[in-house]
């Protein structure tokens, strides 16, 4: 396939197709991909389910949502505030995971890329 991607498109990054295929098969890269997917896929499923639960309860379980917990504060308000809390916590947890686990793995793959002989000038 002829790619028109030089020029205004994405640059090749100095490596050819064979080099990328080789990198992709390397155990370092497979570890990185697994570590990335193991975090983001279950977490995405979890927060979407948690959010949809909130929306569904808001639509169909109004008496439950209107139940007062303390003073004028009801379940709906607590549930809504928990969505804020969970969003902040997931963002914080991902930042931590990315710094401790993903970035060192990505550094390892990039170090391998620098050693690949097929690297073009530039």
């Amino acid at each position: 396939m002829k790619t028109e991607s030089s020029g205004p498109g994405p640059a090749g990054g100095g490596l050819d197709n064979a080099a990328y295929a080789q990198l992709r098969r390397s155990p370092e890269f497979e570890r990185l991909r697994l570590a990335f997917r193991r975090f983001v896929f279950p977490m995405t499923a979890a927060f979407l389910a948690w959010y949809l639960l909130y929306v569904v309860l808001s639509a169909y379980a109004r008496d439950f949502m209107g139940h007062k917990v303390a003073g004028e504060i009801n379940v709906a308000l607590v549930f809504g505030l928990l969505q804020f809390v969970s969003t902040f916590l997931i963002a914080w947890a991902y930042e931590r995971y990315a710094r401790r686990r993903l970035e060192p793995l990505a550094d390892g793959v990039r170090a391998n890329a620098d050693r690949i002989p097929g690297k073009e000038a530039g």
Binding site: M1, T3, E4, S5, G7, P8, G9, P10, A11, G13, G14, L15, N17, Y20, A21, L23, R24, F29, L32, R33, F36, F39, V40, M43, T44, F47, L48, Y51, L52, Y54, V55, V56, S58, A59, R62, M65, G66, A70, G71, E72, I73, N74, A76, L77, G80, Q83, F84, T87, F88, I90, A91, W92, Y94, E95, A98, E103, A106, V109, R110, A113
Partner: protein
Amino acid sequence: MTAGQLAAPVLAASDNEHRTFSLILFAAFVAITLYITIWASRQNKTAADFYAGGRQFTPIQNGLAISGDYMSAASFLGIAGLFALSGYDGFLYSIGFLVAWLVALLLVAELLRNSGRFTMADVLAFRMRQRPVRAAAGISTIVVSIFYLLAQMVGAGALVGLLLDVSGESAKIWTIVVVGALMIFYVTVGGMRGTTWVQVVKAVMLMTGAIVMTVWVLSKYSFNISDLLGAAADKSGKGDAFLRPGLKYGATNVWSKLDLLSLGLALVLGTAGLPHILIRFYTVPNSRAARTSVNWAIGIIGVFYLMTLVIGFGAAALVGGKAIAAQDKGGNTAAPQLAQELGGGSGSTGGAVFLAIIAAVAFATILAVVAGLTLASSSSFSHDLFANVFRRGRTTEREEVVTARYAAIVIGAVAIVLSIFARGLNVAFLVALAFAIAASANLPTLLFSLFWKRFNTVGAVAGIYGGLVSAVGLVLLSPICWGGKSDTIPKGNVDALFSETTVAPIPLQNPGLISIPIGFLCAYLGTVLSKERTDEKYAELEVRALTGTGAH
């Protein structure tokens, strides 16, 4: 018909001193941003400067700019008004807007930063045939941005009448023209660098204004949230129902509850497909900075939406739903009216000053958002449609940037003209529609591009057009356009665009519930029905996206 037209501008009928002060403050904002824009234009030399602001913004700066792009007048005035008039239901909107950022954080931001260059289509077309995919992505980008622009500009026209007490059609038209001219100037002269600084200034102003109002409201209730809620519920006359979901959304029957789910789905999945948000990830040096800037944005936007809860309920408790609805039946003036009340009420100097400050913040908000949208659509026109579709990649960077500038002028002019024609229509639904298109057309293609090895050109093109056409088509068949009374909308919709009596074929106002699955399905079917394999390029995309090798 906009809500603004129906309301008499009683807000300032008794005192006009806030108007002068408001105009001075707004002029100061414009002067500062124009200065920044001209300063930024001197730094702009390359295409990367124009499209991506030189990629040297810090995560905090970009986090503020993302927040500035995202917190539109719809979120500030609209959600505060929703809380003030419909109570709890405002929360359904703001929570969707916030949780959506996790999709952008986990699945999109870093990968896009690593593998793309200037536009969303850089990633969508990475391993595909360039022309068809870039054409589709460019069209989708421009449609989403124009719809969003129209909602903001028509809203600006309606607001100026209310906030500055100038009535009449010519005031609205002039507001739209001035807003349009300023946004064109920011984009053509300042490019991404200038526009980013405008967003930063606006975000700081908006957050400061919101913090002052929130603390002020809370201090009136000894920082006891329960007391505030109780006072709001009492004054609303709706009692406990005001604090529960359902006054506005999903109140009546099966369809209206599905409509609520549909809205929720579009809000949570739309953000990560909004082109003017996606191009913000290119303004930082690397993927770590893209990630931390999203985290800053999540913090800023989250705190902001928590404050709109207090501001909205504060307006309900202190101003009262009747006074707000008398001013604007959509509730868009709830926050400015609350400011006037906090400052000492109508007729007092304090009230006039605080009203003027919040009105100026609202204009700054609108102006910054429309600039971001114009930049996204003109970048995509130039980089995707002009350079890669029309010229097949044979252009110079200089030609591209010149084209982007002309595109900003043309798109801005089109938006001005359309907004002037649409000024009497109720276009608030266009924001929700922009999110629905982003979720139906852009997100499926973006996710499949990044995560599905088998994905190919036909799949990408089918996904974008399928999602785009189904989202727009469903709205054209919805009660937004056909307002006839039916079981699903017993009162009918007198603001319907085409007919007030014909019954809508599709009872849903929000298309997301149907169009998002259609977008994913079209992308899937298009892929498996085509023989093309893009495995080699996928290896490159995957390695680059995850590691940052060869990133721009």
